[in-house]
Structures are given as C-alpha cells and as structure tokens.
C-alpha cells in the first residue's frame, strides 16, 4: 500500500494503522502447506532460534489439525503469533528452506500466522499449568523474554509472578512494534495464554519504585530480570531539547496506547537512525499523515540494522533514505519550533571494533534539511539504575551473565532478553528473547531440582 498524502489523510488514520498484510486464506494456506516437503531433520527447525518443529506444524495445517499446529508453534515459542509477523524469516527459517535450492521457499511465517490466527480467533487455550511444585519465581518485565520464561516455568509447576511497569504486558510486542505490522490484540492473546496458566501479572508495577529488588530476591526462589531496554538516548546536538524532538520508542508507543494523533498531518519528519525502530517510526509518520519522511543515517544501507523486508516496506511507503548523513544541530525559530535540521555528509573510514566501517565527517559538507519533527531512533539506553539496585555486574547496562546458566552475579537472579543483549552478547530479535526466556526457565528448574535432590 503506497498511499499518497491526500488519500492518507482522507482515509481516517485508524485505517492506516490496521494490519497491512492480509493473512493467508484457508485455500492459500492449504496449498502452501501441501507444498512443504516435510523434510527430515529439517534445516528450518535449526534456523529457528526457538527450534519450532516447522515441518510438523505445517503438516498439521495440511491435515486440518489447526489446534495441534498452533500448539506445536506456541510450545516452542510462547510469542509465536507475534514472531510470525515480526521475525526476519528470510534470514531464519525461510532462508534455510531447502526449496531455496529448487523452487521457492515455503512461506513459513505466513503459515505460522495462519495457525496462530486460527487459535486466536477460536479462543483456544493451548496449554495447562503443571502441578504446583511449591516454588515461586518473580519475573521482572512482561515482554517476550519474561513471558516466555513465565510460560515455561508455569508448565513446570512454578508459581510465577510477573512485575510489569506498563499498563499492559507484552513489552515490545505490545508497545514497540507498529500496529500495522503487529496488532496489539495478537500480543494481548499471547499474554492471556501465559496468564491462563495461573501466572500473576502485576501491571503498573515498577520494580525499584513500587517494590524493592531486595523484597523479590528474598521472597522468591528465583528472580528473572527481563526488563529490556529503556528510552532512546539524546543525539548530543544543539536544539534537541525542544518538544518537536521525539523519542522513537515513545512515538511508536503513543500510536499503540492512545487515540491516533492528527498533529503530524502535513508535517516534514526526519528520523535519525536506521534500525528496526527507525523504520517503524518512519512508516508510522507516513501513516500519521506526514508530508515527507526522511531517514537520516550516518552510514549506508550496507551497515543499517533494519531487516531487508523492513527497508523494502519503508521504501514502498515513500520514506526517503539519506545515507552517509549525520545530524549536526537543530535550528529553531523564535517560538522554539523546529525550522530545519542541519546535517553533515559522512564518509566511511576504517572498520571499527564491531566490524562496521566508522563514519567520518566530510569537511564543509553541511546542508539544511527543512523539517518540523525530528525523531531519535539511535538505539536504546539501559535501566542502569535498576541493575545497580540489584547490585548486578554489567557492562554499560548490559547485564553480565554466565553464558550457560543465564545467572547474573547474583546467583538467584537470572537475566534474559534485551537486558543481556549487546557488547557482543546475544541477539536483539524477539524470537531470541523468547528462546532465552525458555532457557532461563530450564536453568532455574535445573537449579531448584538439584537443590531439592541435595536436601533429600
């Protein structure tokens, strides 16, 4: 859907935020499922960070066993409905499909969505809580990693309590991914699936403010830190303190939790950064009626962290990409409205530690970009204070863990998800967070089982 400005505004904005991609019809799903070879020892399973038995769930679609299919998916990935929409499938399951070598890969993501959509629509409860084992776990953060850990622990018989700072659980899936790619209802369904296993979710409860870390460590057999990441840091340029400069995370979140704002209609928007959130902020701006939207990125398409499908989508939405461009300062008028963004051209120099080539300023290449809104999307900062309150070792907010046990420097505190991502550790994908949540659950179970057998 490439909407010109007029039709974007004439359409009511609500409609712009409905899911872009239609799901497969029953006929399409059956035909696609029938095309799957049902490989033995299939590479797609290996390519899925959560190890979903993909040939099995597809076979179940083909046989008409949709409940079984949804269960096969959600068993391995408690946020499998969201992942069917947001996973970079061409880099994961679909990228490894053997049919890449003969015809064309199976639409695994779309089939996964078909099966989970069926379960959502038919209000299926897919799992039952395990028999209680008398142990309790506190999970801080109800995002993909926290929910995943909670689900696995509940199946294993733990009494789980999730402490969620926001009004709703679901984390990134609920607040951080644009509605037209991931409707909130999908994330809520995943939350309900976890809740239905007798998991208590205390929303609007910020650990460190409403409840103290020590209380959790003292009162629960284990604590899982799955707090993700915080706000987008400042750019460090002149003029960015004014109202017209926004945090991309807050910006996207507002489109998911409040009535859609009409204040962006006709505005010129610059988004700084070229990661997943930058794309979301840019396409959100388009659908909120912005006149023009530019992504300003100091490196090139090669180095950006957005996925190819996101890049493609943004281009189709009419987002302009300004490569090798860095913001220098924001020029304001007398009323502190943004007039323009002064940028400077960059060049790529030597590769830095992370392997990406370091951008270097091109002298006297300054130019002005006339914009009304600037959105910061240059990554996220960390909840360092909370990490400190727990007294955990960390590197610039990336919590240090034992790679095998997911234990932090406090052995009864485990960590997973974005809070351990960075500094060469982990992956930033939702699906990786889900897998880490599972692994943390197994490690907790292993630890408590070992303790139990020692005491016997």
């Amino acid at each position: 859907m490439n909407l010109d400005l007029k039709s974007r505004i004439n359409n009511n904005l609500e409609r712009n935020f409905q899911e872009v991609e239609n799901g497969l019809s029953a006929q399409e799903a059956l035909e696609e499922a029938s095309r799957c070879l049902y490989c033995y020892d299939a590479p797609c399973i290996e390519a899925c960070p959560t190890g979903i038995d993909i040939p099995s769930f597809i076979k179940k679609i083909a046989s008409g066993n949709l409940k079984g299919s949804a269960r096969t998916i959600m068993m391995e990935n408690p946020v499998g409905a969201s992942c069917s929409r947001v996973c970079p499938t061409e880099e994961l399951c679909e990228g490894s499909c053997v049919l890449n070598h003969s015809t064309k890969p199976i639409m695994i993501g779309n089939l996964q969505r078909y099966a989970t959509d069926w379960a959502i629509k038919n209000e299926q409860a897919l799992f039952k809580a395990g028999q209680k084992n008398g142990k309790s776990v506190a999970i801080i953060g109800g995002g993909p990693a926290g929910l995943s850990a909670a689900r696995e622990l509940a199946l294993l018989g733990y009494k789980v309590t999730i402490f969620e700072a926001e009004k709703e659980a679901g984390g990134l899936n609920t607040y951080g991914i644009v509605s037209f790619r991931l409707p909130q209802s999908v994330s809520f369904w995943e939350v309900e699936q976890v809740q239905s296993l007798d998991v208590e979710i205390r929303t609007n409860t910020r650990v460190g403010v409403d409840i103290q870390p020590k209380d959790l460590v003292d009162n629960y057999d284990a604590v899982v830190l799955a707090i993700g990441m915080a706000t987008v840091p400042y750019l460090g340029i002149e003029g960015e303190e004014v109202e017209g400069v926004l945090d991309a995370i807050d910006f996207v979140k507002a489109t998911k939790s409040n009535p859609l704002s009409d204040q962006y209609i006709g505005k010129r928007v610059a988004v700084i950064g070229a990661g997943n959130t930058a794309i979301d902020a840019a396409t959100c701006s388009v659908r909120l009626g912005a006149e023009s939207v530019s992504i300003v990125y100091r490196r090139t398409a090669e180095e950006m962290t957005a996925y190819p499908f996101e890049f493609e989508f943004a281009k189709q939405e009419g987002v302009e990409f300004r490569w090798l461009t860095a913001p220098k300062r924001i020029l304001l008028d007398e009323k502190e409205n943004i007039k323009s963004l002064e940028c400077v051209k960059m060049d790529l120099g030597e590769a830095s530690e992370d392997g990406r080539r370091r951008p270097v300023v091109v002298d006297r290449s300054e130019f002005l970009l006339d914009v009304d809104i600037v959105i910061r999307a240059i990554g996220q900062s960390r909840y360092i204070n909370l990490i400190k309150q727990f007294g955990l070792n960390h590197k610039d907010g990336v919590v240090t863990i034992d790679q095998e046990t997911f234990q932090t420097s406090n052995e009864s505190v485990f960590a997973c998800g974005d809070v351990i991502f960075g500094k060469g550790q982990g992956e930033a994908m939702v699906v990786s967070a889900a897998q880490q949540g599972k692994l943390v659950a197994y490690q907790i179970h292993k630890k408590t089982s070992e303790l139990a057998s020692e005491t016997v």
């Binding site: 059956l30 499922a33 029938s34 490989c39 033995y40 083909a62 070598h101 003969s102």
Partner: protein, 425 residues
C-alpha cells in the same frame, strides 16, 4: 503431419480420443460441442430403459490440496427417453459424419430386449455398439451392468445375442470389479465381440464426512457405493489393459480407459495395447477443450519419435510386460545421489531408514556441509528414495554390471527340477 486416425475393429476415427459413455455424452448438444472441440469420437451415454436418478451424485477425492485425484459417481444410465437420444444421435451423426458415435447399451439379460435395442440404435446410423457390462452401481442391483459383467457366461451369452443382429462392430465394456478381467474378456471374445473396452468404474465410497458422519456423497443422509474413476485408477486400468493385450485368447482390439488425463497417459495405454482411449473425468474436470493439447501433444510426441501413425504405437510395450517369474533375478540397480542437485531435504534418508533397507547415510564433509550417500552394497534397488525425492535428477537408479548371467525364477526352477530328475534317475 503424423496420422492420428485410428481403426478399432473397423470403427474408424479421426483421432484416438473418444469421450467415454458418461455424463459428458448425455446429449446431442454436448457431443456436438465435443466434436467441435476436436474429440475423435464419443460413446453415447448408456441407452436402455430410462431410469430415475438421485440428486447428489458425484464426489471426488482431493490429495494434498489437488482436486479430483479420484472421482466417484452414483449416476445411472441415461434418464432421457430413448427416442430423444436416437433423434439426437442421428442429428449429430449428420452434422459430424467423420466423427465416431458409438452407442452404449444396457438392457436386461434377455435376447429379445438386446435384439430390439440393437436394431433401434443401428437404424439411426451409429458406427458401433458398446455393451455396458460394467457399471457397478444402481443398475447392477437390477441384474444389469457389472452384475452381468461379473458372470462370464452372461457376458458371452449377451454378446452372442447382440452379434446375432448387429451390423456394426460390437465392443464389450468390462468391469474391473472382478478378480481376473481376462476371464470375462475371453467370454466376450467367445461371444463374438469385435473389441473389448476397459475399465468401467471400480466400486467405491468416496469418503465419510467426519463432522456429520454422513457418507460422501449422501442422498438425504444415506449413501450407496458408487463407481470410482479418474487419475487414481489409471494403474489399475493399465494393468488390466496389458493383461488382456498379452493374452493370446483375447485377440481383439482394446479400447483403453481409466484415468486417462492427457496425451502421455494415452500413449501409455496405447503402448500397452489399446487401439484408442476413452476419457471422462479429465473432461469433467476441465471441459472438452483439453482435447486440443491431447491431440497436439500426441502429434508432437509421434514426430519426435519418428513415427508416422499413431497406430504404430499400439502394443509396443506389451511384450515387455510379463510375469514376475520371468524377471531376471541377477539384474542389479542401486541408487546414486547427485550431491550437486540434492537439496538435502533428507526424505530419502528417512524413507530408507524407517521403511526400507537402511542404506542412505547422512554425512558431513570436512567443511561441515551435510550430504547424503548410498551404501551401494546394502542397496537393494527398491527405488523408494528416488520416488520420495522431490527434485528431478537428484537420485539416479544406476544399473550395475554383474558377472552373473540372466536367470529368472522360472528358469531357476526349471534347472533345479532338471537336477532333481537327474539325481533321481
């Protein structure tokens, strides 16, 4: 241009593609549309005492989302008055004098009845007669169709009665609902049949609705067996055609049918001894226009093979079809996997491992790339791996040279009994 004309026991046709006696040949309107589309002949939907039909008649079997892998019907013979059919046959024949019209007939096993109907249909100018001893449903409950076609004496006797008065060639259409179709084919020949055609439909129940628990199809909650046809029955039909073709007692031409869906299927039936083919399900699936590719594909095939006439195909594979006891026990083929073409779905491995002879290994080369390899010494040449393989050319069945001379089971047994005799003597 290759010559597609065929001659089945004196019945000539512009090409080997006939519509079988079935719903597509129910009326003059339909048969004329078929001839316009290019069909060489049509066997008119079976004439007899008009009957009543039920509503809800057809059902089909889908396979992996593919529609009409098999087709099932409980429709009976024509439900239109004989005089209407005869009038339309005459009109059609007049409009298409070079196309073939064969009248399918079914009456009670009664000499006078057969004489009467044969005279009536020959009077309107049909090119031949096909006796329907095959329909397995409905009419069989009244002693007709497959009920008489399953009793060799009745086949012979009724054929004989028809031949007493028939002026045109008589084809006897046989039922596959019998242990050995050559028995009834022989009976037809003994009765004087000029040709046999096969197969009629196979007794079938298309399915059961797992929600309502009704049969598929059902008539007001009740079902009855139907006749099965379509692509799924082709191997059964082909075997029956071949069995008749290689039987010296059945020395009459064969009209082959049962799942013929395209020109390749037609070539197979003709190679196995059919002089022409009859088609129904494929036309019911796609309409009469499919004959265009049948004609075109067959012509191109014959040209490519350097043949001038379609008749040159007939029976060319019959001598290659024999009994198991004549197969060479010393012949050896093994599977070979072409790793360049293989896409590593591992279906061959698991099929062999779980259900055959455990001789395909999943290996890794020094660089860590996965590949599959056949342990040829353990491979029995069953073909399963190459059958399940989804990629053309990834698995070849390769013939191995052996030192041993050809030796079939029959030859082996003959030698052993020779030795036994010598020993005893």
């Amino acid at each position: 241009m290759v010559d597609l004309r065929t001659n089945l026991a004196g019945i000539t046709s512009p090409n080997p593609f006939w519509l079988a006696s079935a719903p597509p040949t129910n009326s003059g309107y339909q048969v004329q549309r078929a001839f316009e589309a290019g069909w060489g002949g049509a066997v008119w939907k079976t004439l007899g005492d008009p009957i009543l039909n039920v509503s809800s008649r057809f059902a089909a079997v889908s396979f992996n989302g593919q529609r009409i892998a098999g087709f099932n019907n409980i429709e009976l013979i024509t439900d239109r008055p004989l005089e209407v059919n005869l009038k339309e046959i005459a009109e059609t024949k007049k409009r298409f004098p070079n196309h073939t019209i064969v009248a399918s007939l079914m009456v009670e096993p009664n000499q006078d009845k057969w004489h009467e109907i044969v005279k009536q249909v020959e009077a309107v100018g049909v090119d031949g007669l096909e006796l329907n001893f095959g329909c397995p449903h409905g009419m069989a409950e009244r002693g007709m169709g497959s009920a008489s076609g399953q009793i060799p004496e009745l086949v012979e006797k009724q054929t004989y009665w028809v031949k007493e008065v028939a002026q045109t060639p008589v084809i006897v259409k046989l039922t596959p609902n019998i242990t050995d179709i050559t028995i009834t084919a022989e009976a037809a020949v003994k009765g004087g049949a000029n040709a046999v055609s096969m197969i009629n439909t196979i007794n079938s129940l298309a399915g059961v609705d797992i929600d309502s628990w009704n049969t598929i199809p059902h008539v007001a909650g009740k079902g009855a067996h139907g006749g099965y046809c379509g692509p799924a029955v082709k191997p059964i039909a082909l075997n029956m055609v071949a069995d008749c073709a290689r039987n010296p007692l059945i020395h009459v031409p064969i009209s082959g049918m049962g799942g013929v869906s395209d020109w390749k299927n037609a070539v197979e039936f003709m190679l196995m001894g059919a002089s022409n083919v009859q088609v129904c399900t494929a036309a019911m699936h796609h309409g009469f226009r499919i004959v265009e590719d049948m004609i075109d594909g067959l012509s191109n095939y014959l040209e490519e093979k350097g043949l001038f006439s379609v008749s040159e195909l007939v029976g060319r594979s019959v001598q290659k079809y024999s009994d198991w006891g004549d197969l060479d026990l010393n012949h050896k083929v093994v599977a070979r996997i072409n790793t360049d073409t293989c896409i590593n779905c591992n279906k061959c491995h698991i099929a062999c491992e779980d259900t055959s002879h455990q001789c395909i290994d999943m290996l890794k080369d020094p660089a860590g790339n996965k590949y599959l390899q056949v342990r040829e010494e353990d491979c029995v040449g069953c073909n399963l791996c190459s059958i399940v393989c989804p990629v053309d050319g990834a698995i070849d069945m390769v013939e191995l040279q052996t030192e041993l001379p050809r030796m079939s089971w029959n030859e082996r047994q003959a030698i052993i009994s020779g030795i036994d005799k010598t020993v005893k003597a």
